[in-house]
Symmetry: C2
Subunit: 195 residues, 2 copies
Amino acid sequence: MPRASLSPGAVVGLALRIVDEEGPDALTLSAVAGRAGVATPSLYKHVRGLAELRGLVSGRVLAELTEIAAEAVLGRSGDDALRALMDGWRSYAARHPHRYSVLVQAPLPETAEAGDRLVGVMLAALRAYGLEGSAAIHAVRCLRAVTHGFAVLEAEGAFRLAEDLDESYALLAHMVVSGLRTAREMSAADSTPGR
Amino acid sequence: MPRASLSPGAVVGLALRIVDEEGPDALTLSAVAGRAGVATPSLYKHVRGLAELRGLVSGRVLAELTEIAAEAVLGRSGDDALRALMDGWRSYAARHPHRYSVLVQAPLPETAEAGDRLVGVMLAALRAYGLEGSAAIHAVRCLRAVTHGFAVLEAEGAFRLAEDLDESYALLAHMVVSGLRTAREMSAADSTPGR
DNA sequence: GAATTTGGCTAATGCCATTAGCTTTACGGC
DNA sequence: GCCGTAAAGCTAATGGCATTAGCCAAATTC
């Protein structure tokens, strides 16, 4: 009686609702089956197992994040684009903290390709800086580390003091743009003789 | 026959070895008991359960990291101290990637106090910048986000391109120090009229 | 309308955490 | 040197979960 009208996509959707409402640790095949009104083993007709489901969920989250980042960058460039990208990223993570936490230890092979698209968006956001080759890669890595680091810490409630988080994030964004602006000096200074 | 000479500390030690060798997901009471040469329920004489063990492990890792950060900062100040702190942090995470991953979703209450000490070290490292009150908090938050973000991504193998990671990290450090150096301008610019 | 594929089911297995209750060991006081 | 007690181990039992196997009904297709 295929009445539940399930599908891999629908299963991922239910999984996301569980993650949102009860946290990543509550994501269990048994819980998904419960919401679907179906016996647990039935899920195996749509998904290879819990591990694959986790990967699919992570992929979906990463896709959403990519979408948001891409929209944020649209029609902007330079510092403006960068700040918009960072703001969009953070606000997604803040809006869906549990969902974002799923990303934290997502299985690598499954999320790699989704991540590549996000990296593409970041590269585009950095285009105005005229970074070439490796320099662009290093910049993207820093951008990833910065945004992801802040998002993870905020999502898991690691910032426990009362100071305004928006201000902290503004400083972080300032670090990125000012650091990129002065990046040439850095490598110059590095190769300068005398300490 | 209390011959196994276990203790909470010894249990945490075994747990750390498991984490290092088989990854955080392999940390299970049954695995620890196996290494200890003891039946699983015996562990409950030393540890309240798996959740508490995880918390203790995270606490230990955070303590190690704090130790390393503190040593790195010793006898240095300013940019020098900051870079040493960042380098020590990253090298710890790179040396013990699985151990570092444990930190990623550690139970909050258990790791909060250990984290406070680490924050203290970071505040000390920033002392030379003369940041006052909230400004210091914002700076510490950025430092945490930056180092943690990079460490997490590196530990889980998220940087998949061939470019030298040391160079990426140097750029990140440059962002931090140059951002802090120019932080005053930022808030000035923010309150400047005319966008 | 019949055949095949699809999506659901029940039953069974095994691993893990956790609890309860028993037993033996080590140790401190006499 | 003996004895009582508390600590640290054990076995047995329970329950949740993932996963596999094999069955059966419903939908889809010819």
